[in-house]
């Protein structure tokens, strides 16, 4: 949008609207201060110890697990739409075309100016970042960590390597890999709802934790036992398991890597429809 459009009448209207919104919002926030109703969260907190030790993981991936699926889909859609805008999957009518599709060229790299030391440490740093990302996803249910963070850390490793080495990126996430891993991620997350649906009738019921005793003990231990931990808490000792939460997090991580990686890939290297091995210039 052109900023000059905001001059004159439009600008005045916009400022007045913003003022009204601001005053309304501030006054209601002031009224809410100290008066926030706990509502459902009180019940969630009472039940927390039954699932993952990391309460937030339980909130995000169990109580509100289906919300998180759609949020994950938001990231996926964001990536697909961004790549679409760059040129991946642009469609035209077979018998009629108005104009050639808009495409954007890849960025130009000038990696010569980087110092030798940076180039030397680039690869180990990127590999360590990858390991760190993997560690973070395995810590989803016990401590701060999870799929979102893992995905972001791993794609930042990819971006770091791209900055250091340009087209010769040692972390060579190809387009097929990125799209595949994104599909496995979102598809996997979606399908993790299936065991609960088929056995209890509730989509994405946590069959591993099974706190409401709706599924058979066999299924409960298949999904639950691998992640079972001893929780020494003030209230006593509990042997609880996050069930499908760690698996969901891995799927989530895959999806985020696929999505953000695809955005980086498309914006850095542009999009062309040739197969990858031809693009690399016979390498």
């Amino acid at each position: 949008m052109d900023p000059s459009e905001l001059r004159g009448k439009r600008g005045v209207i916009a400022v007045i609207a913003l003022l009204i919104i601001g005053v309304g919002l501030m006054s209601s926030l002031e009224r809410l201060a100290g008066n926030v109703s706990p509502g459902i969260s009180r019940i969630y907190n009472i039940l927390a110890y039954l699932v993952a030790p990391n309460n937030i993981a339980t909130w995000v991936y169990d109580w509100r697990g289906f919300d998180t699926l759609i949020e994950t889909a938001v990231i996926y859609v964001g990536a697909v739409v961004s790549a679409l805008a760059i040129g991946r999957g642009v469609v035209q009518m077979k018998h009629y075309s108005e104009e050639a599709p808009v495409t954007s060229p890849p960025l130009e790299y000038r990696t010569e100016s980087l110092t030798v030391i940076l180039k030397l440490f680039g690869l180990p740093a990127a590999i360590l970042l990858l390991s760190y990302g993997i560690m973070v996803v395995t810590a989803s249910s016990t401590s701060g960590g999870g799929g979102f963070q893992c995905g972001v850390i791993m794609t930042s490793a990819y971006l770091l390597a791209a900055i250091f080495y340009g087209k010769e990126n040692p972390i060579r996430f190809g387009k097929r890999f990125l799209i595949g891993i994104g599909a496995v991620g979102l598809g996997g997350y979606t399908l993790l709802g299936l065991p609960g649906f088929l056995t209890s009738g509730y989509w994405q019921y946590n069959v591993g934790a099974d706190i409401w005793n709706l599924v058979s003990p066999t299924l409960h231990s298949i999904f639950g036992d691998p992640f079972r931990l001893t929780l020494y808490l003030q209230e006593g000792v509990f042997y609880s398991t996050p069930g499908i939460i760690p698996l969901i997090n891995i799927a989530e991580a895959f999806n985020v890597i696929g999505a953000i990686g695809l955005i980086y890939f498309a914006f850095l290297y542009g999009w062309s429809e040739q197969p990858e091995d031809q693009e690399k210039g016979g390498k």
Partner: protein, 86 residues
């Protein structure tokens, strides 16, 4: 020991191999050693995961432990790279 102590380590190796196969170019001996040393140091810094109470999960004594998944991931990545070759 609970199964939850070891599972993250196994997962980290598997994921490490998966992403290791996506690396290209050559990784020199120096880089390999550097990465291993740093991941051991990092693992000690991060400490064992909460609620793990066995040596398999990286727990040594209160306040001392190592994050097995970090080491597992590094090993996995190096294995993956070796499997793929240059």
């Amino acid at each position: 020991m609970m199964p939850g102590d070891i599972t993250p380590f196994i997962i980290s190796i598997v994921l490490g191999v998966l992403f290791g196969t996506q690396l290209s170019g050559k990784i020199s001996k120096g880089t390999t050693i550097l990465v291993i040393i740093f991941s051991i140091v990092g693992a000690l810094l991060f400490g064992a995961f909460m609620f793990t109470y066995s040596i398999y999960g990286g727990y040594i004594m209160p306040g001392l432990g190592f994050a097995t998944p970090l080491i597992g991931a590094t090993i996995g990545i190096l294995i993956g790279k070796a499997l793929k070759g240059e």
